[in-house]
Symmetry: C2
Subunit: 181 residues, 2 copies
């Protein structure tokens, strides 16, 4: 019971954050507790282009979703209003501690992006936001490539569920996959 | 409030699992909800050996910890009794959907391992368990390399916190890092 109470405190603060996701001037806040949200998957140096990687560094991306929207996805196979998907980028290191091969994550985030569903607020239903050492971010203009690419290739409701193995199973079972991923 | 209630149901089932982590004949159960635990980090094809990778495939590992022990780590910088760290392995795929470079996770888990702290049950305080398509697993004998390697190189209490960026910060601040990682 003690364990349960501790966890309740955690969850109630996460849920309360939904009510004030935006600042007074319309910027999306970076959720302070997104690392405690539900992990969907991670990737390394993923690119949708055949051109050589010119970033000059190697990065992991970690994808999280708020717990309430995750729960709804399990039920319905798609995303409810106010869904927030977070992509966190971290440096990929090879040599460190006892590691000799492969890569692990190290250091502070190199960037955080959020993909949020709010049909009343965003034309097209979803907005993208990029945070870099900032507590709040303005929406990326809808002319940016991320919108058209997600629209064309997102497996579920403009999101890349094709890269999240546990959700891909759910969407397949619920028949909510788009035909164009 | 509705959101909060939904989350409470989730959390209460996770907490209740602590009371019956083992089967009647002493095997550790694979927690059904570990994918909803706290994500610590992921790596790709990590190896502590300089010998060539002879696995014949590429894998991500995802590390999760039960929420109650995570919360205690944030407070104290070390792990309480009954901590369970889960390592899930998933196949790393390069070409798939629109991905052209880098790697993403796909398919079912290729294996799951648990590192559990229970000083009354395990000599040395911690036990390792490997699950492969099984709902419960017997402890790996303490003569296995995983025990001595974690003992010698674990940054905090025989665990590889050096590879978990958010916890490494906490342990550094709390001065709970061992000197031998």
């Amino acid at each position: 019971m003690k364990h349960l109470l501790i966890s309740l405190l955690l969850v109630s603060s996460a849920a309360a954050a939904d009510d004030s996701a935006f600042t007074g001037d319309g910027k999306l806040k970076l959720p302070a507790d997104y690392r405690e949200w539900i992990f969907l998957s991670s990737g390394l140096d993923m690119s949708y282009s055949k051109l050589p990687n010119t970033m000059g560094h190697s990065m992991f991306d970690n994808i999280f979703v708020d717990p309430v929207s995750y729960r709804e996805f399990l039920r319905s196979g798609t995303w409810p209003e106010n869904t927030r998907l977070v992509m966190e980028m971290r440096g990929a290191t090879e040599k460190g501690s006892i590691n000799q091969q492969g890569k692990f994550q190290s250091g502070d985030p190199m960037g955080v992006e959020i993909h949020m569903k709010d049909s009343a607020r965003f034309p097209g239903g979803w907005g993208f936001f990029a945070f870099s050492d900032t507590a709040a971010a303005q929406q990326i203009p809808t002319t940016a490539d991320c919108y058209s690419c997600h629209q064309q290739h997102g497996a579920v409701n403009t999101t890349f569920v094709q890269f999240y193995p546990t959700l891909l199973k759910i969407a397949t079972a619920k028949k909510t996959l788009s035909s164009n991923h």
